[in-house]
């Protein structure tokens, strides 16, 4: 977007004072993805006066700027970034701290502690294991080894197990049992029994098993977290983190950038071409055209003038607008959509993940088996101590190590594959939901179509005549016209009348390009998807534009049908425009003129008739539907809010990514179920062996790591699957 900072707005509301007298300013830089970008951005910003240092986190896209004093100029940082070619948005100072990946650090640390504990406890366990196989180990040495192993393993297990204990506690409090419940019970019981055995001079202690179990499980947990944080890094949670700002004009004519929440009714707001309207507002001065496509799905620009009411979220296309705020940010049309999104996200969070569904079957079975072992063992004359030891062995050997790794390992491999194909997966749960989809709902504008006008039936001679004038304008239709011509000639003395057209000299002749009335066509209807061009007093030429289909839209829909999925189009556009697209794609189910709430309600109603729907949309009017649908995808060109509401974001021109994503998600589900099958088989063999007392600590250690390895290797096959 081409902005001129005639008077740079004031961003000082976003400065966060530091302890040493300086101040920091955190902003999110979009599109900084390479080493060269990082060098350019850090170098450019650090050279600004008053800036002590600038550091860009390439993973999360967050730029931290340190100012020497409290009076730094954040606006200058942003205009510098813009000159370098990067869009940026300031973080709300209160939320910037939350952007730090605390959970990631804790998991990494827990993983390190578990690795230390497992390795060192095992060092003392090896002599004990040797003793099991008749090697010489005196009773005193055995006790010493057991104590050493226990003293190292216990604190490590308690620290590394915290993520599991906390999660188990949270789930138990709401009356459910997730996978972490048997893990926590298993680990704590194992440690307790092992200490009891050590005190009673017993033979079997499982200290090393408890920690290595946690270590293997933490690998799965860590992978799952990585998957989610990489998506966050790709600016997925943009809406939640960034504080969108608006330019407010004060009585003395000064411009201030204010957080949206600070705008009150009656404020004068300045909106430049290329910016979005921050709140619902009435035009005070200026004329322009608004693009409501992301708000309503309507593909044609709407002209507006003084006194008209405009909705928040609309894109200002051509002229500078001064508006009077009519509503606060919370009361604007956009906020109503945000509330719908919230409601949709809540329904999605109730989704029960594959691993937890497996746990729901697994937990009662295993715990019953362990209890039976104890009761039966005791009543059949084993003695309480031996019966309890066998019951614990059952719990340890069946502890869901492989189950904990089965899903995350597959999902990380799957999302890495999709990432290479330019599809970003935001969470593992998203992949699971995508695999279950039975019905695909497409938005029209910007998804099935390219979302930008292209010239219909271009006549090269006519285009060449008008191109010099078209090139001088930033209006989308003019740009579409200029794109058809290879020349570089530019008109002279160009004057652009916002919302009307453009006038200038081409080879000395005066010419006009714009709306029918502007060019002097009488009695024309003045459709919004056409441009007229004429030299003064000459014949008038009409150019017509339409939003064209994505090149592989038809192919994609056929491929989806071949996979047994039904396809539907929901659009906010006029019935005529939607019908022509639906007919071109041979889609029989379509609905036009839908509001954001309609779309969300329709998607919800699909669920009641047994459909699991995938919503593919890009606009603000789709966000509620995206959040409500079973799974959601958005193109990389979509509005931040839509990318935020979607589970997967795909970039590139093609729609084929939708098919690829579904294929990979289905393959991942298949592989995860395969892993569950393997775990079940393993438990069917291991549990009876433990009941019969055939398991000793050495066999337990071997079996546990062995099964985890097999599951991980199987997951790695995902790299090749579905290719």
């Amino acid at each position: 977007m081409a902005l001129t900072y005639d008077a740079a707005p004031d961003y000082s509301a976003f400065l966060k004072p530091a302890k040493d007298g300086g101040a920091t300013f955190d902003l999110l830089v979009k599109g900084a993805r390479c080493a060269a970008c990082m060098a350019k951005i850090e170098g450019g910003v650090a050279r600004l006066p008053g800036v002590r240092s600038a550091r860009l986190n390439l993973t999360s896209g967050k730029l931290s700027v340190d100012f020497e004093g409290r009076s730094g100029d954040p606006g200058r940082v942003m205009s510098t970034l813009e000159k370098l070619g990067y869009d940026s948005a300031p973080y709300d100072p209160g939320q910037a701290a939350a952007a730090q990946d605390r959970e990631g650090r804790r998991l990494t640390m827990a993983l390190g502690v578990a690795a230390f504990g497992a390795g060192n406890a095992m060092m003392f366990s090896v002599p004990i294991w040797a003793g099991l196989f008749g090697q010489e180990l005196g009773p005193a040495a055995l006790i010493m080894m057991q104590w050493a192993s226990g003293l190292i393993a216990t604190p490590c297990a308690l620290y590394a197990g915290m993520p599991f204990f906390q999660s188990a506690w949270r789930s138990l409090r709401v009356g459910r049992a997730n996978m972490d419940v048997p893990i926590s019970i298993g680990v704590i019981l194992t440690l307790a029994i092992s200490f009891a055995e050590t005190l009673l001079r017993g033979r079997d202690t499982y200290f090393d098993a408890a920690v290595s179990l946690l270590f293997l499980l933490l690998i799965g947990r860590w992978l799952d977290h990585k998957l989610r944080s990489r998506a966050r890094g790709a600016a997925a949670d943009l809406l939640a983190m960034q504080a969108p700002a608006a330019t407010v004009l004060t009585a003395d004519g000064a411009q201030h950038r204010r957080p949206l929440a600070d705008i009150v009714v009656g404020d004068l707001i300045l909106v430049r071409p290329g910016e979005r309207l921050p709140v619902d507002a009435r035009v005070e001065a200026g004329a322009s055209e608004l693009d409501n496509a992301l708000l309503t799905g309507e593909s044609r620009p709407v002209p507006i003038g003084v006194g008209e009411l405009c909705r928040a979220g609309a894109l200002n296309l051509s002229g500078m607008l001064t508006l009077r705020a009519e509503a606060r940010s919370d009361d604007s049309a956009v906020a109503a959509i945000a509330r719908l999104v919230e409601a949709g996200a809540q329904s999605k969070s109730r989704y029960v993940r594959l691993a937890d569904r497996a746990a729901a079957i697994y937990v009662p079975v295993v715990h019953t088996a362990a209890a039976l072992t104890f009761v039966l063992g005791w009543s059949l004359g084993l003695g309480p101590r031996e019966a309890l030891l066998r019951a614990v062995a059952v719990l340890i050997i069946t502890c869901p190590c492989a189950l904990g790794l089965a899903v995350p390992a597959v999902q990380v491999a799957a999302s890495a594959r999709l990432f290479r194909k330019q599809v970003l997966v935001k969470s593992g749960a998203a992949l699971e939901r995508l695999a279950e989809v039975t019905h695909v709902v497409f938005d029209k504008t910007g998804v099935l179509t390219l979302g930008r006008p292209t010239l219909i039936d271009p006549m090269p001679e006519a285009v060449a005549l008008a191109a010099p004038l078209a090139r001088a304008s930033s209006h989308p239709l003019a740009r579409a016209l200029a794109a058809q011509d290879g020349g570089t000639a530019l008109a002279q003395d160009v004057v652009e009348t916002a919302g009307q057209g453009i006038e200038g000299l081409i080879h000395g002749r005066r010419a006009r390009l714009g709306r029918a009335a502007f060019v002097g066509v009488e009695g024309a209807q003045g459709a919004e998807t056409e441009l007229w061009f004429a030299f003064e007093g000459d014949t008038k030429i009409r150019f017509q534009f339409a939003d064209s289909l994505r090149p592989d839209a038809r192919e994609t829909i056929d491929a989806l049908r071949a996979r047994g999925l039904s396809v539907e189009i929901l659009s906010g556009d006029l019935p005529g425009a939607v019908r022509s697209v639906a007919e071109a794609l041979d889609v029989r189910q379509w609905r036009a003129g839908m509001t954001p709430a309609d779309k969300a309600a329709w998607v919800k109603s699909l669920a009641t008739v047994g459909h699991r729907s995938l919503m593919v949309g890009d606009g603000l009017n789709d966000t509620a539907a995206l959040a409500t649908a079973h799974a959601a995808m958005a193109p990389g060109t979509a509005l931040d809010a839509s990318q935020n509401a979607a589970d997967l974001v795909f970039s590139g021109e093609g729609l084929g990514a939708v098919v690829t994503a579904i294929d990979v998600a289905r393959a991942a589900r298949h592989r995860a179920l395969e892993n569950f099958g393997f775990s079940a088989l393993y438990n069917l063999i291991a549990a009876p062996a433990a009941m019969l007392g055939l398991i000793n600590p050495f066999v337990a250690a071997l079996a546990m790591s062995g099964s985890s390895l097999v599951v991980t290797l199987n997951a790695l096959r995902m790299h090749r699957a579905g290719r």
């Binding site: 390479c34 080493a35 990082m38 060098a39 170098g43 860009l56 986190n57 390439l58 993973t59 999360s60 730090q100 990946d101 990631g104 650090r105 990494t108 640390m109 390190g112 502690v113 230390f116 390795g119 060192n120 060092m123 003392f124 040495a141 050493a148 190292i152």
Partner: protein, 63 residues
């Protein structure tokens, strides 16, 4: 066997030092931006690169 009482605690101590080092790397944010750190090491003009590397770079490129 007595040597065991020296060597066993010593080996645990060594491992503890490793764990402390790991704790420091996590605390100082060395795992927060893997992509950035991988790129940063290749940047020529970085002021925070060790002095020796900068001297070597100058020697290798007398122009």
């Amino acid at each position: 066997m007595t040597i065991f009482f020296l060597l066993a605690p010593f080996s645990v101590l060594l491992a503890l030092m490793g764990l402390a080092g790991f704790w420091w790397t996590v605390r100082s944010g060395q795992y927060d931006d893997p992509a950035g750190d991988a790129a940063r090491i290749l940047m020529d003009d970085a002021d925070d690169a060790p002095a020796l590397i900068q001297v070597r770079a100058r020697e290798a490129d007398p122009g």
